[in-house]
Amino acid sequence: MSQPDPLLEFLLRMGDNTLVLGHRVSEWCGKGPVLEEDIALANTALDLIGQTQMWLGLAGDIEGKGRSADDLAMLRDAWEFRCTLLVEQPNGDFGQTMMRQYLFDQWHLLQLRALKDSSHDQIAAIAAKAEKEVTYHHERSADLVIRLGDGTEESRPKMQAALDLLYPYVGEFFEGDATDKTLAEAGIAPDPASLRGAFDAALSTTMDEATLTLPDSRFTHKGGKTGTRHSEHLGHLLTQMQWLQRAYPGATW
């Protein structure tokens, strides 16, 4: 089996995470629990789609086969995607959506902060821009997890259930492979495992404040980031997202 280009692989991982999560968040449009949250959800989705354009745009340039960010988003099949399993998970209720968002944002923020010092100038520039947006996403998602965790007798169990459901998808972010090793050695991206300590510390603080209990098991599902085994959810998401491009090949929109 030929080895993928590590830099391309890395950019797809970044861009597919933001693309798939952006899609999921956009599914909330017009259905939020309160108008301000509708606006914030749309805003988050918009930022994530904007970041996708940058990551996948650079991926297309690096690949050098003339594929645009749109081609990569709309014309790859599930096994070619490199998003983590967490972001593919369905929205569930608002609590589940915000728990997924917080778990992602907490990793995303640490990752982007590290990437700002990347030896690769374009990656550092994208990270610097995205970090500003993600700082706000993280502030909001952490705040909502805390407020709904430490809310009512009804909201707390819902948030605990969301944490129990989604925590087993967190570990995948910190699993490293040959791609990660190559990039870490080149100073392009951090070793994923190196972010775990800061992640755990922040998670623990947030969950304490939210009066929620972290599961004991560190078991993690994996296979999304490497593309070896995505969830069943991804195919349905792509069916919807890619439909027009697949149904009318070559059309411009």
Partner: protein, 327 residues
Amino acid sequence: MYAQMVKSEGPKDQDDPTKLAEFQARIDAGEKIEPKDWMPEGYRKTLIRQIGQHAHSEIVGQLPEGNWITRAPTLERKAILLAKVQDEAGHGLYLYCAAETLGVSRDEMTEMLLDGRMKYSSIFAYPTLTWADMGAVGWLVDGAAIMNQVPLQRTSFGPYSRAMIRVCKEESFHQRQGFDIMMKMCAGSPAQKQMAQDALNRFWYPALMMFGPSDKDSVHSSQSMAWKIKMNTNDELRQKFVDQTVPQAEYLGLTVPDDTLAWNEEKGGYDFAEPDWDEFFEVLKGNGPCSVDRIATRKKAWDDGAWVRDGLMAHAEKARAAKVAAE
């Protein structure tokens, strides 16, 4: 136009005639009425209905466009559509705030929308079936809304007028992006052009209905015009919309679905067919193609969100109590 058939009320017996005359004089002099100023009860009630209906239309209006966000054909189109729908939620927010200054809460207005006591614009009870509908909605629906909202920037009630100034800036951008989608579709493959024509066929008459039936002889309507709550008659606005839109359709190479459409030199405008007003009244009664779905979706969002709103309130209360205890 996002407020249709708003039941307007005239001055009431209890209104002090001197105050009423002073109030009218302020309006005639072009002054803005602010929330704490004296106002006739009929003025206040009519405005609550009109601004509330307008706000509800922005909120329900997220749904037909939200229907295509997850299927937008490119990342850029997805981003533009998301931004647009986000703007609409923002418009809803300003408008609810403007209505709240008149003494009604956003929650009360929401309940009234969900139980049918308040309405939203008939246009949002129609389905969006293809991507071209995103173009047609921007071009025709936002185009029609702008016709009404530009004059409303001069409306007499200060908070409503200021909300309209902000809304209009964004709406004109929305209309341009809708027209841009139509241009792309019409310059595209035969299937895309057909999709664009189909969208125009389905949205033309519902867009004309947005202005409401002729109101030139309505007593209530003339009261609203005297109070500068309503700035033009429905027929004036509809005529203006047709005159602006027909050349745009010609530019796109699309056919307006009206065999009677003809330029009338004498009046300097087009003659055109009236929409089916029976259909319009059915839509207002809740018999539009998507009426049941739209309200069911909003009701589900509201009901499913109750635990979230309660949780946030409870936490805010705990935080407040903790702060007091610490002081």
